[in-house]
Amino acid sequence: MSSGASRTPSDLDAIIVGAGHNGLVAACYLARAGLEVLVLERQPYIGGAAVSRRLYEDFTYSNCSYVCSLLRPEIIRTLELPKYGLQVIPYEGGCTMMQGGGHLALYDNHDALRREIARHSKRDAEAYDRYSRDVMRQCKFIKPLLMREPPDPTSFKPRDLKELLYLGKRFHGLGEERMYDTLRFWTMSAADFLDEYFESEIVKAHFAGSSIIGTALGPRSPGSAYVLLHHYMGDIDDTVGAWGFARGGMGAITKALGASFEASGGTIRSAAPVARILVRNGRASGVALADGEEIRAPLVISNLDVRRTFLDTMDAKDLPDEFLRQVKNFKIRGSSGKLNIALDGLPRFPAIPEGSPCTRGDMHVTDTIEMMERAYDDWKDGRWSRAPYIDMLIPSQIDPTMVPDGKHYMSVFVQYCPYELADGPWDAAKRTAFGDTVINTIARHSPNFKELILHAEIRTPWDIENEVGLTEGNIFQGELTMDQLLFNRPVPGYAQYRAPVRGVYMCGSTTHPGGGVMGAPGANAARAVLRDLGRAH
């Protein structure tokens, strides 16, 4: 990575705070528009929560985010990510194992999955056609909204009215019945939504899983149906719903973004933590690093979440009181943990037939919605779930480059794990106990799992916050609840990537359309910046 030390600060147009995927996406678009852009990253490596790390021998861990599904295809194309080394390999399957043995396999192929569901319930197999049709309809309704600025419903500006009209037209275009369905879908709980289609617990549990990942909600909480969709918006080469691995781990995405950015003349400085965003005469004037170095630029775009940006790196006196009040009200809750495990070989899962493709995708062991809801109840009381929901993957089966010969890497995402425990702060002993809870949960379904473990990295929300800089370790930089979506995200009246201080912008998943390794916030923020510079394209 080239060093920014040589450059004289004066010729900088924009500074991006944080080299997460959204920061880099924004940086790429701005650099391609001809701006002089400097990206500052606190860590000695770039990537934020999309990283590949070697923490044990020659094993590569995707130690935060672990699947590639939401990254917008238009971004992949425009920024030529494949040219810079990004390769996405689709899943072949997935599964949910049942407590009493047996399993439900997940296949990308609709008919294959339909047949699989029929093993558990003929009625549900028929309902599945209706279900996937309805969910896809919602995906298609929302997809175009991802890459647009949410309008401010309180504003009379032509742009906002035009956007509101656009939304209204799209909504109206659904037709009366579908409009009602959409109203209900956006406000329902995943459990209620699934109850309207399916009868078998395992099928409901299987689909409900994606509604709780990363959120401090249970499957019975109204609004969780929408989050279910959020994870269905996965989109590789425009095949809605597909998921995949990035070859070389999630770091490959941000590596490709970094390369694309530098190829268009951008500069990245890592190990350069920003302490403050500088404001002079009511507008951005640059940043000050932790070591006191000041770098001047008329534009500062923050990839940090809204709390970090405005409460930690800006001066309260530069911001309106109402804005600050709303920033403090923005809910960013740690609800997930992560285990990264180096394995001496491939664990056996008796519930899954030998050689079935469904061990090559995401594996789960929660077979009822009640189990998920009870896991959530633990979180509400400040405990990690005694029977957590886990999203478990062994990417090394598909991407051998991540591990030494014959070895394997397992990524285990854990829901729920609180940032603050009821019985006092996290410590080493509690972290280990949390890890054991997860490992034992897996071991109940894999007799040889424990003896295969060579190394396990256990990450609580507290660890994720400290390493990645995500408040409370929240993977979405803020809850995806009804009150924090669209024009409410992150702050009512400031949902269009612009901060109350001229020249300061937000580009993280803390903004619309939110989290997941999607890149849309970064691209939208860049567009807002360019529009303000009169360089709209």
Partner: protein, 527 residues
């Protein structure tokens, strides 16, 4: 009330199924619109779930809701209920939140007293003012027919614009705040505003009363705003207790309906709705007697109306599926106690007994109570809304003795262990809680009754025993209540209307659904 003898008439303009408050309001409004109206009530007296009945020798109580605070003042005036015998035992009743250890918190319309930090006292004033402004913006929704979406009709478009305009004219700051908190849960809202656990518990309780929600469920700010809006639509009289209990209200409604020319038959359960050609043509009673009518208006809940009284064969499958998916399983039980002396709650003065008492010490306490309900268990430490009706109206019990009436949550309709064994265990659980706040209460009990949602289903013929004939929630609200295609009180079957709590604007002793429906019927007739 005295059962009016049916005129020897076998055909009416309108038949109203069900003599609950909504059915009676609907009947009275139709009769005042010069329609010949017959009300058919299955029970031996009118009132539906809003009736007063004896639960122990000499002790009477409002079997369902025990407080009147949602029925619009203009409706009471319009039907001249006071001249038809409605009297008030108490108005503007206060709320006292009971706190373990004998502390207490008193909430009035004016403000909160006792045991509040300075910050909370200030915060409460600002919070109440803001919530009242938001509620006021929602008021116009209540008395209007929910618009249909995607219709070119100007009425619908206008109705939508009006809703938008009401919110817009709050001003930018309020509008933003309303649009933010509207989708929130009441737990977060109250955490943002207050310190005191007791205050948060008391304010949060009203958001989940009668709802299938805990304080952490998103949508509970909506249910709270909804209650506040209904209260402000009802006028400034606050929580009231009709003299003689809620049944007295329905008797006055029945008198108003009769005075306007409606015929009321109690003990006349409807077996099914008659269909001729492709429209409703009357009803058949369980006795076999059939009665013709131009229009049939059902105050029964949507599932009962469409699936039992009408039957799926007259409806298309998509509509039937929607009806089957209405969430309408009650979670509120009603506890009635006959006491041989006035109850005494630790720290509560005699005056406190004239208002309502809440047992909801903290939001977490309520949430824990709700957790059980999610899994088909009753709450281990239930929350309660308590009144002592006899403190305001001695006629409900023998001289010197008292009645305690409590709404107890959560008591899920589909209790895993079944209510046969569950009833007694839940009653004991509830009494243990009461004893903790009112030491010595148990020893004064001479009679007791617990109405579970299962009992209410049987007794009041509400499927699921749900007070609101269906959860109040975003996805069962306004133009999707009870289901698309029946949200404007009309149904897919020509000549059949709904007028019950299952419709907009929902349950509670409000009566607006009945009046809105009647207006739709009259409009349909005139057009």
């Amino acid at each position: 009330m005295t059962v009016a003898v049916a005129a020897a008439q076998s055909r009416y303009d309108c038949i109203v199924i069900g003599g609950g408050h909504n059915g009676l309001v609907c009947a009275a409004t139709l009769a005042r619109g010069d329609r010949s109206v017959l009300v058919l009530e299955a029970g031996t007296q009118v009132g539906g779930a809003a009736l007063t009945r004896e639960f122990a020798p000499g002790f009477r109580v409002s079997a369902g809701a025990h407080l009147l605070h949602l029925m619009p003042a203009d409706l009471l005036r319009e039907l001249q209920l006071e001249s038809h015998g409605l009297e008030w035992a108490a108005r503007r009743m206060t709320t006292t939140a009971l706190v373990p250890g004998g502390a207490r918190l008193c909430l009035t319309a004016e403000g909160a007293e006792h045991g509040l930090s300075a910050a909370d006292a200030r915060g409460y004033a600002a919070y109440s003012a803001r919530m009242r402004r938001f509620a006021a913006a929602l008021v116009p929704m209540f008395s209007r027919v929910p618009p249909r979406l995607g219709k070119e009709g100007w009425a619908d478009r206008l109705a939508l614009l009006r809703i938008g305009w009401q919110i817009r004219r709050l001003g930018r700051r309020d509008m933003r705040e309303l649009l933010r908190i509207g989708g929130m849960n009441v737990y977060d809202l109250l955490e943002e505003n207050f310190e005191s656990a007791a205050l948060k518990g008391a304010l949060g309780f009203d958001a989940v009363l009668g709802a299938n929600f805990g304080p952490r469920s998103p949508g509970t700010v909506l249910t709270l705003l909804y209650r506040l809006a209904a209260e402000s639509a009802a006028g400034a009289s606050g929580m009231s207790q009709p003299k003689g209990g809620m049944g007295a209200l329905c008797n006055a409604l029945a008198k108003a309906a009769s005075a306007a020319g409606a015929t009321i038959r109690a003990g006349a359960p409807v077996a099914r709705i008659l269909v001729e050609g492709d429209r409703a043509s009357g009803v058949v009673l369980e006795s076999g007697e059939s009665i013709g009518a131009q229009t049939v208006i059902s105050s029964a809940d949507p599932k009962t109306t469409f699936l039992r009284l009408l039957g799926p064969r007259y409806l298309d499958t998509g509509f039937v599926r929607r009806v089957k998916h209405i969430r309408a399983r009650g979670l509120a039980a009603k506890l009635h106690l006959a006491l041989n002396r006035a109850p005494s709650f630790s720290g509560v003065s005699e005056a406190g007994l004239h208002g309502r008492l809440l047992i909801a010490p903290s939001l977490q306490h309520i949430e824990h109570a709700y957790n059980h309900a999610k899994y088909g268990e009753f709450s281990a430490a239930p929350v309660m809304e308590i009144t002592v009706p006899t403190a305001n109206d001695p006629t409900l019990a023998p001289a010197g003795e008292h009645v305690l009436s409590a709404i107890v949550q959560y008591a899920p309709y589909a209790l895993k262990e079944g209510w046969e064994s569950g009833r007694q265990r839940f009653m004991d659980t509830a009494l243990d809680v009461l004893e903790r706040f009112a030491p010595g209460l148990r020893s004064s009990i001479t009679g007791a009754e617990l109405l579970t949602p299962a009992d209410m289903e049987r007794e009041f013929r509400i499927s699921g025993g749900h007070w609101h004939h269906g959860d109040l929630a975003f996805d069962q609200f306004l133009m999707v209540r009870p289901v698309p295609g029946a949200a404007q009180y009309r149904t897919p079957l020509e000549g059949l209307f709904l007028c019950g709590a299952g419709c907009h604007p929902g349950g509670g002793v409000m009566g607006i659904a009945g009046r809105n429906a009647a207006r739709q019927v009259l409009a349909a007739g005139n057009s």
